[in-house]
Symmetry: C2
Subunit: 322 residues, 2 copies
Amino acid sequence: MKKHVVGIDIGGTKLATVVADKTGHILSKVRKPTLSKKGPEYAIGLLFDMVREAVSQVGLKQEAISAIGVSCGGPLDTKTGVVYSPPNLPGWDALPLKARLESEFQVPVIIENDANASALAEFRFGGGRGYNAVLYMTMSTGIGGGIVINGEVYHGANDSAGEVGHQILLPNGPRCGCGKQGCLEALCSGPAIACRAQAAIQKQLEDEETVTAMLTLADGRIEDVKSEHVLAAARTGDALALELVQETAYYMGWGIANLVNILNPDIVLLGTIAVAAGDLLLDPIRETVLKFAMTRPAEAVNISPAQLGDALGDLAAVALVV
Amino acid sequence: MKKHVVGIDIGGTKLATVVADKTGHILSKVRKPTLSKKGPEYAIGLLFDMVREAVSQVGLKQEAISAIGVSCGGPLDTKTGVVYSPPNLPGWDALPLKARLESEFQVPVIIENDANASALAEFRFGGGRGYNAVLYMTMSTGIGGGIVINGEVYHGANDSAGEVGHQILLPNGPRCGCGKQGCLEALCSGPAIACRAQAAIQKQLEDEETVTAMLTLADGRIEDVKSEHVLAAARTGDALALELVQETAYYMGWGIANLVNILNPDIVLLGTIAVAAGDLLLDPIRETVLKFAMTRPAEAVNISPAQLGDALGDLAAVALVV
């Protein structure tokens, strides 16, 4: 009986392979740096070895593996299993990742973009359990999203659904990594929060003598202020940091309100920065959603931190095949 | 063999009942004014009679009817079939419409909000045929929406999905009927276009001696300028009307770009005003979507006028039960 699966989590900086049982319990794990500059062939060779290593770590033979799930940055085509130049994986251009893995291991392989796979993991194992309409949103270096409807990832026409971070709120706002201006991501991702914080600190230094705790936390170097410093300073009551948290919650709440009106989710699960910030950020987000969304969908939605934390990457890959 | 269905279209100003065969061909139709001030009991009694009349018009007995589909303004609960005070139907408060009809006619009744039912009709009989991810948007007195995924209406947590007209673009923008500010509907519905046109004409009259063709078309009365006059004047090359069309396309395109990023639809079907305007409005909408949406979903989407025209209301109700 094939009672085990392999999960592969492919990121721009690290690769991970895990073996899990059919209930999603992780039994072994291998991690290596992606060394993305070495290109896809290096990474694929490494992944082949890492899969074998994770399998042998639990004393299994390859024949015990029923399927492989792969969570990878998009864009990618879930039907053909071809990856199309994810921004964090230079050279992975029209790479037939599914075919390569199936050929090597002779088992079915399912490939999914990381935000969608994470959404599915939260549905299967985390905060989305039991809900029919689940929206998961990352809030880290970017703002990605995944939509799970009746237990299945919603892909849209060409696997591009759920790009919730690229809804445009301010058409003349800050430039986004995607090339447009004023996307939610350009306002509320970690780097975007840091950027707004640095500008606000600069202005404060010019206008008054106060020194924000954010600057102290970053050892006095404005250019080193990050979103973590904003949250830490806000917790100590630092006025400027609290303003930045409110501003972030306003944009997040506005964007989520639009999503609530469009998708009417049972639950919105917010990852990473929202998990770290907790109610400090979530409460003003919830208030903004109530203010901006229509009453009926706003009353139906639960806005919560994602639950899987550091296990998310592994479980994202595993969720695809259990 | 029960080879026929009844469709009921309930609007704030008119009621319609039709009999159709299982392929959606309308065989008979009865129309009456809703006289919404008379309340729901009057309308329900009238509907009972109108159903019987439509059935007898085609020489059928009631036993030949297999099901009744009802398209009605929301909010309503599709599972229980209870209608909750639609804005255009005063007094229809927690009205068990499905139960009342099932009790009267002893056949299964399916109730759906009109925008969702219209989306399903476009999927079954109109511009959405053959597509897996269909977004239909009305563009008339309001901007409603319906999402059809793999041939089924997407309802969300509590039948509120698809309120695409209430995504907020300008939080300090014009007041919307829903109570919020700057919703897409408050910028691009028929009345919203008229309102922007009237303000622009007023300003033009104060600033210069030009008289826009819009004003001529409305017999010189600014307060009578409607969205139809904007379109008609734009077709004659009237500069101010063309500006208003461009502005409308900018907001519509912005809103649709957000929807394209979130839902990645195969097709977006735009009703009423967009049908009347054609490429005059659709071309600049398409340009704005290409500018504002991400490349992959923008390349996948087809933005087209809805196809069912005046038949939409009847087919919306029928689509629920064929």
